[in-house]
């Protein structure tokens, strides 16, 4: 059995959970993105970011969780150098359902994964270890991350295999990205703890898993480790282990974390937050269309094949491009360009950021293909060039001489030449009509793929007289 605790930073917010510093701390000098509140200076008080509460509520609703009308924040008290106040402001449900999200569920294929709760809390700072041995090791603290809004999603132990974990994480990433609340591709934006147990063994908690990619690996490693212990009849003890992302193994932690008493109590500096039905209705109306609904719409409205619609709807980058570029008539063509030509070119965050492609380009490409101004072949070359330069399609067609040869007299000349060169094939067309495709290919060769295929075919037939 596997249960997950997923931490997702709300990186798309402007500010931290309790202060005006930036929620996305990346790119700052060490300890530059800080203020008296997020480093817990004496006299500072938390100032709740209402937008974070809204976003966390949206996540809860998207994961079909119950959302209480009143939410509260609690203090989790423990000493750790990455915690500026030596307590973390978080949420819990032990004194009634006061967390931003209660029980919910997500379908992974045919399997239902139950959500235990969703809570909004502050991220601690980041520890940096220096020094080679334990003797001269020093710990430095960077508080840039301290106070970043974090949503913790706790699942029931409903997973049975690492693959189910991976499928769930893929769906969850897509949902979070589609909601526009988080950017799963940012380093450290998605972290997780996992509880793993096998039949007859105790529960083992794995902490500190820095990415979804490693989570699947960690779970896999841990199951293998436990099964190997079990087969040798060695007892599996209840413990906390850490994921060592360099060695890709889980390591037993010697810390006494299990014995910590967090002395939870209500954070008096933050009054209860009311999320009334009117607020919820408004949030629902502002929620982006779900991935499932998008997919259905693509299939039913534009007759895009289900598989293509699936790819298109689940990746926010692609679906945004599609939404902003398509019209009733070119939708299928654009879906085609995105899922066959574009996908390989922008498969990483870096490539997407470097890309100069706009929805307008996609529209031009699709329209040009549909009006036979550009062959499918040439459109791939044009797309390459657009990504690199961002130039207008018309300019690229000119510069790279990609435009279709659709001038009848020019094409007729070329066809006459092909017919004279390929007498045997011309002859065969009379007994085997398929041979005409060979001739079209020859014309294409001569025009470097720029001949308008339909026009070519018609002219060939006309000249040969079939």
């Amino acid at each position: 059995m596997i249960g997950l605790e997923i931490h997702c930073q709300l990186t798309n917010l402007n500010s931290k959970l309790f202060c005006p510093c930036k929620a996305n701390y990346r790119g700052f000098e060490i300890n530059e993105n800080i203020c008296p509140i997020c480093i817990g200076l004496p006299g500072s008080m938390p100032r709740l970011n209402q937008e974070a509460v809204k976003k966390a509520t949206i996540i809860a609703m998207a994961l079909n969780c119950s959302t209480p009308e009143k939410i509260a924040f609690f203090r989790k008290n423990y000493f750790y150098p990455d915690l500026p106040k030596n307590f973390q402001i978080t949420q819990l449900n032990i004194y009634g359902d006061t967390s931003v999200g209660g029980t919910g569920s997500v379908m992974v294929g045919d399997k239902k994964i139950n959500i235990t709760r969703i809570q909004l809390e502050e991220d601690p700072g980041r520890l940096i270890y220096e020094g080679s041995s334990s003797k001269n090791q020093i710990t430095l603290v960077d508080y840039n991350r301290a106070g970043t809004p974090l949503v913790e999603i706790v699942t029931e132990p409903d997973f049975e295999t690492p693959k189910e974990v991976r499928d769930f994480l893929n769906i969850l990433s897509d949902i979070l990205e589609n909601l526009g609340v988080a950017d799963p591709s940012l380093e450290g934006a998605m972290r997780a703890d996992a509880n793993v147990s096998i039949k007859g063994g105790k529960k083992v908690e794995i902490k500190n898993i820095g990415s979804f990619h490693d989570l699947e690996k960690a779970v896999h490693f841990e199951i293998t480790r436990q099964e190997s212990l079990h087969s040798r009849e060695i007892e599996i003890i209840q413990e906390t282990r850490h994921w060592d992302d360099k060695r890709k193994i889980t390591v037993s932690s010697r810390s006494k974390e299990e014995e910590l008493d967090y002395r939870y109590f209500l954070e008096g500096d933050i009054p209860w937050v009311i999320i009334d039905p009117a607020t919820k209705t408004k949030l629902i109306s502002e929620m982006p269309e779900s991935i499932v609904s998008k997919k259905e719409r693509y299939v039913s409205k534009y007759h895009i094949p289900a598989q293509v619609a699936d790819v298109l709807s689940s990746d926010k980058y692609y679906s945004d491009l599609f939404e902003d570029s398509h019209t009733e008539s070119n939708a299928k063509e654009i879906a085609n360009i995105i899922t066959t030509d574009l996908m390989g070119l922008v498969d990483t965050r870096e490539k997407r950021e470097a890309s100069k492609l706009t929805p307008h380009h996609l529209k031009d490409l699709a329209d040009s293909i549909q009006s036979s101004k550009l062959s499918r072949n040439s459109s791939k070359n044009a797309l390459h060039e657009i990504l690199k330069t961002g130039k207008d399609l018309s300019i690229i067609i000119k510069e790279l001489d990609l435009g279709n040869v659709s001038d009848e007299s020019e094409l007729s000349g070329i066809i006459t030449q092909v017919i004279s060169e390929e007498a045997q094939a011309v002859e065969q067309t009379r007994s085997n009509p398929q041979t005409i495709n060979y001739l079209v290919g020859k014309v294409m060769q001569k025009t470097k793929g720029k001949a308008d295929p339909t026009l070519t075919l018609n002219l060939l037939k006309k000249q040969i007289g079939i």
């Binding site: 004496p42 006299g43 500072s44 008290n77 000493f79």
Partner: protein
């Protein structure tokens, strides 16, 4: 130059040009210089105060717009942050802490051209009610230097009463403004929870404490409340009071008002002089047309226990940040692992803070919470219900502020339990979020007695009107400096 004037008189005198801010502030600093070796109200003095006063005089002369405080010299409890000034909380832990920002109340007073003459003494982190727990030595009661001035805002009360400032800001977690005000014959006010922003107040028990003014007159308190109250985006617990003017109508009187006399606050252990002063206050109020009647509040007897349980829990959390890593005192980190470092560094807390940290680690812990912390919260909620019911019948509740007279320094410092009982009359207002005020009412054998009035939530204005009426019934002798 007469320093013995109220804040409102000071403003009037400066406005009409009878006195200059510079002269008054210079004379105030001289007073601090003369009296404070003996009284020890101040932990630090603002050396630029006279220059700042001169700038305000220039503004007045040139006809520029001047803030409502007109350079009035104010002392500030040393748990309120003033930018670029030391803010020590009277603790060795924060001996070298220089605040990088202004508390909201400080920002507001600066905008109104107040002058901060210095930071004043307190019990370490506001934990105590005699100011003897200051890491920098106790303050003395100006009425009798052998006696404690009360606490924790002892320095505030001493400085107001000894003319070392015109007004002061303290903080009140369980009576820390009202208790020293009563012991030093000053007016001390704890507003409705949320009426004054706590941003920049170094927390002790944040769910119940408030900043409050200490002044020489009730009108001055109303004026100070006008200056510093109101909603603040930096403190999510503040209430919008719509810029209420607490001075207007302050002399409305109390005719026909119903006043409940809390039986449990004039019971066992009360000093006879305090009891007779209380009776005198009741008859004076009755002669002004108020209707007084005794009321029993059953939960009051549990209030002190609940108060110490809740405050210790919150203090244990609020003071956890003092690990000496980001700021603090000189104690190098090298060679330590985190846990051993902080346990060593945190030994710099004084005995009372340490005591409460230990209690604060215990009472909310799993296994104990049900017996202590959660029970204390239950008392708080029952007490609140009881008080709310009382305010359905009464406009105000009355008691002596402290059941005993100021006692000798050292007399109770080693007896925390008997000290705690000194809180019995004040903690209820904090636990129930109600406004309460201590009004100087009598002097017995040269020692001050204050009367406490309490009102319902957000009835701060009505409370000040009643306090003003009570204040007008007596004329008290001058402090024998």
């Amino acid at each position: 130059m007469n320093l013995k004037i109220s804040a409102l008189d000071y403003i009037q005198e400066v406005k009409i040009g009878n006195i200059s801010a510079e002269d008054f502030v210079a004379k105030t600093l001289e007073q601090i210089h003369n009296e404070d070796d003996k009284l020890h109200a101040f932990l630090s003095v603002n050396e630029k105060a006279v220059d700042q006063a001169r700038d305000i005089d220039k503004k007045i002369k040139s006809g520029e717009k001047v803030g409502d405080c007109f350079g009035m010299p104010i002392s500030i409890k040393d748990n309120l942050c003033i930018k670029d000034s030391k803010t020590t909380c009277a603790s060795k832990m924060l001996e070298n802490f220089i605040a990088p920002y202004d508390a909201t109340v400080i920002r507001k007073l600066k905008q109104q051209d107040a002058i901060f003459v210095g930071k004043v003494n307190m019990d370490e982190f506001a934990m105590g009610l005699t100011t003897e727990f200051s890491a920098f030595g106790p303050s003395k009661n100006p009425w009798n230097n052998d006696c404690v001035p009360g606490g924790s805002s002892g320095g505030s009360a001493v400085s107001v009463s000894a003319f070392e400032c015109v007004a002061s800001l303290g903080s009140d977690t369980g009576g820390s403004v009202r208790n020293p005000a009563s012991f030093c014959s000053a007016v001390g006010f704890k507003p409705t929870y949320g009426l004054i922003s706590r941003f920049g107040l170094i927390s002790y028990a944040n769910s119940i404490e408030q900043i409050g003014p200490l002044t020489r007159t009730v009108k001055d308190t109303a004026f100070m409340l006008n200056m510093i109250s109101g909603i603040d985006p930096n403190d999510n617990t503040t209430i919008d009071n719509k810029n209420e003017d607490y001075l207007s109508g302050i002399d409305s009187g109390i005719e026909g008002k119903k006043i409940g006399i809390i039986k449990e606050m004039i019971g066992e252990g009360i000093d006879p002089a305090v009891l007779s002063a209380t009776k005198d206050a009741i008859s004076k109020l009755e002669s002004l047309g108020a209707i007084c009647e005794e009321i029993s509040l059953d939960m009051v007897k549990y209030s002190v226990a609940a108060y110490y349980t809740i405050t210790a829990t919150e203090a244990g959390s609020n003071l956890a940040r003092y690990d000496n890593i980001r700021y603090g005192y000189d104690f190098p980190l090298e060679g330590y692992e985190f846990n051993s470092y902080i346990s060593k560094a945190r030994r710099n807390f004084g005995p009372e803070v340490t005591r409460r940290m230990i209690i604060g680690g215990f009472v909310p812990s799993s296994g104990q919470a049900g017996k202590y912390f959660l029970k204390a919260l239950k008392v708080k909620s029952k007490l609140t219900n009881e008080i709310n019911d009382a305010f359905k019948r009464f406009d105000l509740l009355l008691s002596p502020t402290v059941p005993v007279l100021p006692f000798k320094l050292g007399e109770k410092i080693d007896d925390p339990v008997s000290l705690f009982l000194v809180d019995i009359n004040t903690v209820t207002a904090n636990l129930t979020e109600k406004p309460a005020i201590s009004v100087p009412f009598a002097i017995s054998n040269g020692l001050p007695i204050g009367i406490q009035l309490m009102a319902d939530t957000l009835q701060d204005k009505q409370l000040l009107q009643a306090a003003y009426a009570l204040e007008q019934t007596v004329r008290l002798p001058e402090v024998p400096l």
